[in-house]
Every structure is written in structure tokens, then in C-alpha cells.
């Protein structure tokens, strides 16, 4: 059987790739994908905890996270499209309407 530590390492790696992607990439879509990666990293750890603790709560939370992430994707993409119609860019550094 695969030990718990391996799953947790995988989950941490996926989560950290998400964090670094969010902080270093400047394209909105890729930043958004990085957030999804972070959520999936958390999902892996929750499911492995749930399996090793023999407790269902973790898996229930994962279902909720997946559902909310879908809603979040819908709203996020809608906002990106609304923005893209007014300004044809998906680059965060070009969003400088407001400063100070």
C-alpha cells in the first residue's frame, strides 16, 4: 500500500506549483488555472486523509470543493470575457486603470 506521506508530498507539490504559478505568471487565464491547481492539491490531501482516517468528512468536503470550483470557473471566465470586450488583453500588467 502507498503510505500517507507520499500522497501528502504529491499534494504539497501540486499546491506549491499552483502558488508559484499564480505569483509568477501574468496571464489571467494561467493565473486562474494555477488557483484550480491549488484546489486540486488540497483535494488530494483531503481524500488521502479521509482514506487513512476511515472518515467520510474529507470526501464530502472534496465534492463541495469541486462543485464550488465549477461555479467559480463560470464566474471567473464571465468576468474575463467582460474585461476582454472592453480591453483586448489577458495580461495583468496591462490592467492599470487604477493606481495609488
Amino acid at each position: 500500500m502507498v503510505p500517507l506521506n507520499w500522497y501528502l508530498m504529491l499534494s504539497t507539490v501540486v499546491f506549491m506549483i499552483g502558488v508559484f504559478g499564480f505569483l509568477t505568471r501574468r496571464n489571467i487565464i494561467i493565473m486562474f488555472m494555477s488557483v484550480e491547481l491549488m484546489l486540486n492539491g488540497v483535494n488530494i490531501s483531503l481524500i488521502s486523509f479521509s482514506h487513512f482516517l476511515q472518515d467520510m468528512r474529507g470526501q464530502i468536503l472534496v465534492f463541495f470543493i469541486i462543485t464550488v470550483a465549477a461555479a467559480e470557473a463560470a464566474i471567473g471566465l464571465a468576468i474575463i470575457i467582460a474585461l476582454f470586450r472592453n480591453k483586448t488583453t489577458a495580461h495583468v500588467d496591462e490592467m492599470t486603470e487604477m493606481k495609488g
Binding site: 499564480f22 468536503l61 463541495f64 467559480e72 471567473g76 486603470e97 487604477m98
Partner: protein
């Protein structure tokens, strides 16, 4: 096979009723063409929810959902927030040419999320409430679709909000792995029973929770979204999200830290003290250099989050009561100030620069006088409510032994007088450059009357409200 037991629905009844009524408001938009009617309908909905709320004390769903005095007090703040926001929005969204009916149902859904957060006794419920609130607010922030500033505000708010909720989930997952549960009471019991006080994983998850909640209450160093989101969003929504999500953030911060992490108070206080000091410092000092009033009020709301954090840091029932009291006062004075800002917006005139207020007392003496009261209250000058709010928060922090933090807070509070009173100086001591037309309506008049009367009454007779807050936190 476990038998299905119907849970006691009485404590969740306000939320159930709110869900149904928000959906009805959404549907009513299809048949009702006059949007003022929908605004009126949503106020009726809130009245019904308030009525249901009065008989909803109790705990249900195996402790996942708690309706106690604490959540009740926060729900009253949310209800107040919706009523005032709807009153100031009716005319404003018509001026901004975004007079759509779904605006009101989104406000109701966002408030529903806040109510669920205030009552959450379990991290799963907390997450769901938080997302419902946040997702509705993202849409509202970008509600002026044709305006690039509004789009950009929504984008920044959305990206950083999603990033923060990923941290919340990471903290939840660690707590779950450590204690095997997500129930706040059970987490606390497990920590005490197994002596986990100095466990590094526990500390890491406390920090992750602090990060996620700091995003919601706009505390430094996680405040970067706030000025942009506040400036770009429709002003009525700026008023809404400077009170609602912040109050909800404090509700969960209080409940998670006081209940689940109640046994490691010293540890999380050392995490929150630097956050509070930085929040007060950055909020007050950066506000000085602002030229846009919405941006200035954004930094001011960051600074107020810092003051309120002192009550949480105190870690006593007294401290929590002072936070509740402060939040109520803050709701009145902040929405009042934004209502004046909204009045200055008219067709073809933005009216959100600080220089637009020059000589307002000559052209519109009443509006200037109202702004004067709100600015005094935000500064914390007696006899306005802002003074009383600060007084109780600082006193509870001193009683808990954090005198030096309070000294810093008072110094920053004195600095804040500069940028609040600058508005007063512009209004009363400068000559008007151009005639500013006020956009008035019965709704905004009513909202201003409610807020100004509340600010003055709480300022003169604070004991009723602080006693009410003390009663609310009993048994918390």
C-alpha cells in the same frame, strides 16, 4: 442502515426563507419591468427574514449550524447592510445605466452567504457560506459591464479572493488531517485532550486561516485588492462590500479563533498583533496621499479592520462584544459616508475626486453637514458613535494587557484625522470651483436619515448597544 432523522429546521429557517425569497426576487425580475418595485420587494424579503430570525435560536445538523446570540447580532448587521445598500442603490444604478433586477437578488444571495458564515459551526459550512458570499460579490463588483474600471475591479477581487480561499482550504485540510474532524468544537476538544498546543502543523494551519480571513477583512499584507476593488466597483456595492464581507470575515475569524483555537490564544495573538499594527499603519498612512474619495475610504476601511482586530486579539468576551459594537457603528458611519459620495454622482459627472468637495457647504449645506458628521465619526471624535466604538475596543485590549498595541492604535488614529478632516476643510474652507448637482431620491434621503441619527444616538447613549453586544456574546 442508518434511519433518516429529520433535523430541527428552526435554527436554519432564516436562511431557508432567504434562499426562497432571493429566488423569487430573481424570478420577479422577468415579469416586473419597474426596477424600483424589485428594490421594494427585496426590502420586504429582508423584513420577513428579520421576523423569522427572531425565533431561530438553537443548534442543528449535529452542531454544524449554530444560531446563537453572536450569529444573531451579525445577522442583524447584515440585514441593516442590505436595507441601507438597497436604499442608496435605487437611483444610483439608474444613473450608472445598469438598472437590472438581478442586482437585488445578487445582494440577497451574498447576504445569505454571510448569514451562513456567521452561523457556521463546521469548516465545511464555513467554506460554503464564504464562497456563496464571495462569488455573488465578485459579480456585483463588476456590475457596470461597459466600464473597464468595474471589470478590472471584479477581476482583481476575483483572482485574489480565489487565491485566499485556496489557502483557507489548505488550512482546513491540515486541521482535518491532524484532528480527524472539521467540527469547531471537536477540533478544540481534540487540541486540549492531546496537548497539541505547540504542534507545528497546528501553527501552520492557524497561520493559513489567518491569511485567508485577512484577505476577507482586507488586513495588511493581504489588502492589495481592496483599494482597486473599492474604487472600480459601483459605489453602492463599495458600501455593501466594505461592511458585509468584512463583518462576515470578523464573524468567522471570531468563531474559528475563539472556539476552535480557544486553547492556543497566546499563539494566535502573536500572529494577529503584527497584522493589526501593520493594518492600522498602512491603512492610515497610505490614505493620506489619496486623491480619489472611494480609494481613501477603502484605505480607511482597511485601517478600521485593524482597530477591530484589537478586540479579537484581546481574546475575551469583552473584546468580542466591543468588536460587535464597533462593527455595528462602522456599518452606519461607512454606509452614510458612501451615501454622500453617491449623491455627488450624476449624469456625466463622476464626483469621486476629493477636490469635487470644495465649497460643498456653500452650495449644498445639508449634504456637507452630513458628511461632516460621518467624517468626525470615522475619525473618532465625540459625541459621534465612532468615538464610542474605538473607546470600547481599546479598553478591552488594555484590560487584556495589550497596552502598547493600544498606544500604537491611538497614534495612528490621530494620524487618520488628517485625511478625514481634509474633506471637512475642503467642504467648509474653500470656495466652490464648479456647481455640483446632487442626485437625490427618497431612498437615499431615508438611508442618510437612518445613518446620521444612529451615529449620533449611539455616540450619546452607547450603553444600550454595548450591553446588547455583551448579551449577544454570552455563552460563546
Amino acid at each position: 442502515m442508518m434511519p433518516f432523522v429529520m433535523p430541527d429546521l428552526r435554527p436554519v429557517m432564516p436562511e431557508v426563507v432567504m434562499t426562497c425569497l432571493a429566488l423569487i426576487v430573481l424570478m420577479a425580475d422577468l415579469v416586473i419591468k419597474r426596477k424600483e418595485t424589485i428594490a421594494f420587494l427585496s426590502i420586504i424579503c429582508i423584513a420577513i427574514v428579520t421576523y423569522v430570525l427572531s425565533g431561530s435560536l438553537g443548534t442543528t445538523f449535529n452542531g454544524m449550524f449554530i444560531s446563537d446570540g453572536y450569529s444573531m447580532f451579525f445577522k442583524l448587521i447584515f440585514i441593516l447592510n442590505v436595507i441601507l445598500t438597497v436604499l442608496i442603490s435605487v437611483k444610483y444604478i439608474a444613473v450608472e445605466k445598469v438598472n437590472f433586477g438581478e442586482y437585488y437578488s445578487l445582494i440577497l444571495f451574498s447576504t445569505l452567504g454571510m448569514m451562513i458564515m456567521a452561523s457556521a459551526g463546521d469548516l465545511i459550512v464555513l467554506y460554503l457560506g464564504l464562497e456563496l458570499m464571495a462569488l455573488s460579490t465578485y459579480i456585483l463588483a463588476g456590475f457596470i459591464r461597459y466600464d473597464i474600471k468595474s471589470n478590472e475591479a471584479a477581476m482583481k477581487y476575483f483572482l485574489l479572493g480565489a487565491f485566499a480561499s485556496a489557502f483557507l482550504l489548505c488550512g482546513t485540510s491540515m486541521i482535518y488531517g491532524l484532528t480527524g474532524t472539521t467540527d469547531l468544537k471537536a477540533i478544540s476538544d481534540y487540541i486540549v485532550k492531546n496537548g497539541l498546543a505547540s504542534n507545528p502543523v497546528l501553527m501552520l494551519s492557524v497561520i493559513l486561516f489567518a491569511v485567508a480571513f485577512s484577505f476577507k477583512i482586507a488586513a495588511v499584507p493581504f489588502h492589495m485588492w481592496a483599494p482597486d476593488a473599492y474604487e472600480g466597483a459601483p459605489t453602492s456595492i463599495t458600501a455593501f462590500m466594505s461592511v458585509g464581507p468584512k463583518a462576515a470575515g470578523f464573524a468567522v475569524l471570531g468563531r474559528v479563533f475563539m472556539v476552535a483555537f480557544g486553547s492556543i490564544k497566546i499563539e494566535w495573538a502573536t500572529v494577529l498583533i503584527p497584522v493589526a499594527v501593520l493594518t492600522m499603519g498602512v491603512g492610515n498612512i497610505v490614505a493620506i496621499s489619496q486623491t480619489n474619495i472611494k480609494r481613501m475610504l477603502a484605505y480607511s476601511s482597511i485601517a478600521h479592520a485593524g482597530y477591530m482586530l484589537l478586540g479579537i486579539i484581546a481574546g475575551t468576551n469583552d473584546g468580542m462584544a466591543s468588536v460587535l459594537n464597533y462593527m455595528l457603528i462602522y456599518a452606519f458611519m461607512n454606509i452614510g459616508a458612501f451615501a454622500v459620495v453617491i449623491m455627488l454622482r450624476s449624469e456625466g459627472f463622476k464626483g469621486d475626486n476629493i477636490t469635487d468637495y470644495e465649497g460643498l457647504s456653500k452650495t449644498h449645506p445639508l449634504a456637507a453637514a452630513l458628511m461632516l458628521v460621518f467624517m468626525f465619526s470615522l475619525t473618532g471624535i465625540p459625541p459621534t458613535a465612532g468615538f464610542m466604538g474605538k473607546f470600547y475596543v481599546f479598553m478591552s485590549a488594555i484590560n487584556a494587557g495589550y497596552t502598547w498595541v493600544v498606544i500604537i492604535a491611538v497614534i495612528f488614529s490621530a494620524i487618520s484625522a488628517y485625511f478625514y478632516l481634509r474633506i471637512v476643510m475642503y467642504m467648509y474652507m474653500k470656495e466652490p470651483k464648479e456647481t455640483v448637482h446632487l442626485t437625490t431620491s427618497p431612498g437615499i434621503g431615508l438611508a442618510l436619515a437612518i445613518t446620521v441619527i444612529a451615529v449620533l444616538i449611539i455616540g450619546v447613549l452607547p450603553s444600550t448597544f454595548i450591553n446588547f453586544a455583551h448579551v449577544a456574546v454570552i455563552g460563546f
